[in-house]
């Protein structure tokens, strides 16, 4: 059966240009993850959660079919315009590239701060990510010290789910940093080193490694063009808690002393 991809992230297209063979790493309800030999990830799924830099978007029906017909470890071959599995092919001839939005300068930080007042973050106060933990992390990122590694190890991979809460919060912090720089260069290097240590899921790892290059998904970068509560709510709706976790990271960063 043939399916047609509609949108592909720039990181996904780059991987498809450089790789001839991938493997299915995992299959879950909303899509499948493919990996190359070095563990770089390519996600095939719907646009339900917006567009991802490492994502390839199909319609909901096709994703359902792809999920049903895929098993972990299945071989995938890449041709010029086709992702081929023994049971199906995904055509890339009509694909549009999702290009990351680097126009961080457009963001209205004051409006974002104002509108964050409409989002309820109270559930974090009795969690593993309360004000004290957040302050320690933000201070550590800003004024690098060797103790930052311990703090980061606490956050990385912490929490249930596909992208654990600690990672989503860090992703939010990195986005807020792209809007208004505050992180010490040595902190970036440390984050990169830790995320290459397989301390979290490969989906989280893919998100953070791209976030370090200031590449974020469309639901996140929408905030720099439209800082409204609606945009925040759209991001909040992502995943079970991933969207809110990301917002929490941005909120705490923009409001740090």
């Amino acid at each position: 059966m043939l399916y047609t991809a509609s949108v592909a992230g720039s990181a996904a297209l780059h991987l498809l240009k450089t790789e001839r063979e991938l493997k299915i790493h995992s299959v879950f309800n909303n899509g499948v993850n493919l990996v190359n030999k070095t563990g770089t990830l390519l996600f095939i799924g719907t646009d339900k959660n917006g567009y991802f830099p490492f994502g390839i978007t199909l319609d909901q029906y096709s994703v359902k079919e792809v999920v049903t017909k895929s098993k972990p470890h299945d071989k995938i071959t890449i041709n010029r315009q086709e992702i081929r599995h023994k049971n199906y092919s995904i055509m890339l001839n009509q694909v549009e590239e999702f290009r990351p939005d680097f126009d961080f300068h457009l963001a209205d930080l004051n409006q974002l701060r104002e509108n964050f007042k409409h989002i309820d973050f109270s559930s974090y106060q009795n969690s593993d990510f309360d004000d004290l933990k957040m302050k320690k992390l933000l201070d550590g990122l800003k004024n690098y010290s060797p103790e930052l590694e311990t703090t980061l190890r606490y956050f990385v991979g912490r929490g249930k789910g596909l992208t654990p809460t600690g990672d989503d919060i860090l992703s939010g912090i990195l986005y807020a940093d792209a809007l208004d720089k505050f992180i010490d260069d040595r902190s970036y290097s440390l984050i990169e080193r830790l995320y290459n240590e397989n301390l979290t899921t490969m989906v989280s790892k893919a998100f953070i490694l791209l976030a370090l290059k200031e590449i974020f998904s469309s639901r996140v970068t929408a905030l720099q063009r439209n800082p409204s509560v609606e945009t925040m709510n759209a991001l909040k709706a992502l995943g079970s808690s991933s969207g809110l976790d990301t917002l929490y990271g941005i909120y705490k960063t923009l409001n740090q002393e």
Binding site: S26, D59, D128, G161, P164, G166, S240
Partner: protein, 579 residues
Amino acid sequence: MLYTITKPNTYQDSIVLMLLSNKLNEVEGVNKAQAMMATPANKDILAGGGFDTEEMREAGANDIVIVVDTDDESKVEEISALVDSELAGGADDEEEVEANNWRKALTIAKEPNVALISLPGQYAAMEGMNALHNNLNVFMFSDNVSVEDERKLKETAHKKGLLVMGPDAGTGVINGTPLAFTNIINKGNIGVVGASGTGIQEVTTITDRLGGGVTNAIGTGGRDLKDAIGAITMIDAIKALNSDPSVDVITVLSKPSSEAIQDKVNSVLRSLDKPVVVLYLGDTPEYTEENIFHAYTLEETAIAALQKSKGEEVSFEPSIKEDVTANFNDKQVGIRGFYSGGTLATEAAMLIKHATGEESAEDEAFVYKSEHHQIIDLGDDMYTQGTPHPMIDPANRLKALESAASDDEIAVVLLDNVLGYGSHKNMAAQLAPAIEKFLAAKKDAGQEVVVLATVVGTDKDVQGYDSQRRILEGAGAVICDTNDQMVRTALNLIGEKVEQPVREVKSFDKTNEDLTVADSLKDLISGELSVINIGLEGFTEALVDQEVDYVQFNWRPSAGGNEELMKVLQFLNHYEGDI
């Protein structure tokens, strides 16, 4: 005692894992349980919470790990099954859309009004009747339904104020939603009812491309205008479109039928105030009427309806591709049409016959086979036994093109590429290499030939109208805008021309048919669609895209598939007398 279950390379949302943990904690005999992605940070949390096991420590960051504390070892199997079922189904936060019996399908469907049936013919009629008993309209894709069953279904539907579209209905648009093999068409003020699938597709896509719109295109099934059926669906559908205030023009498509049936349909049309365009494809219309335009081809039908929808006079000039030339040798006098759309093949046959005057030989394998020309419908049952339809699978057309390379009589080849839901996602890319090879073989043999192709689709179809045209063009085909234009271009290339019929304007007395329409039919064509899909799950693709509510009924034959016993059960289920 702690037991560990590891699910390698498995992902779930945090909410699923939280719910799973909660469910496991509720199992009697379980002291406590926890499910998490086994990242180092989470493993520290598990160890700190009293869930420290060797297996948990060994699990990787991409694995789900579940640790259960229970004193009852016999619980482990139950928990393992619960974990599997929760991870398999519990993650789907979307609404339940699958059922395996009528009761469940009707319970979970949201005010369903259409059953889309694609079961094998012997079961389709039975389930069609079940659908009607449950007050659902029926769209029956299935073929091999007996004429008797079709009549029974349609009579029952008519009495209940419902519609049976089909059997063998390949195409339909209901209130803007495409069903089965159908293109995505702009909504608009033209209503179509047709006994031909690709005929509806050709007319509605031309309408769309020229800026018009069709909100309802009701397929009746190819036999509806036969004497044995009596045009029951056609007439009910015409009345329904007439009652819809958003419809300004009604278009009727069919192959010619008996005089009695055509008179019956025309009588209903002559009682309408709304303008009508009617096509009995294959006939040469000898007259037209002030309010009813009698068209000759599918393109003319579409143009006439569009002009009438704008309150303009009908004026259609057929076209050909002017700048196509070829030097044929003396032997090269033949046209070969390798079609996937049956009605398009019929139209080609009609135009070639009318232009050349060559009669067709009796040969089931051809829609038209004269001394020099051949038109084949590769979607005909005789070509699709054991192989998919040529709109899905290019194999038969590739073979036809391959063998055409050694046919020295060929001057022009005709190909159609029908887009839309259900069709191949990139047929042009499949046909292109075969076209290139065919043209190269002919060139090597010192012959010039022309391959003409037409794409039936809109810019909203998933295959991409423009890109399909470009791919075929890149392979050397000349792209025609319509089937009408393609066949006329082919005829022009071999020095023939089909004349447009001259039609006098006739007047008939306005008839006085009962045009009353059941509310249920009005609701069908202008209300919200909600579908129970019985059979091919692929048909839900269009419903998902169009955000239409549906339930997938995963049908299995009752009574172990024993047809006689099934009929007894069917009778008992609907018996209303005393037993």
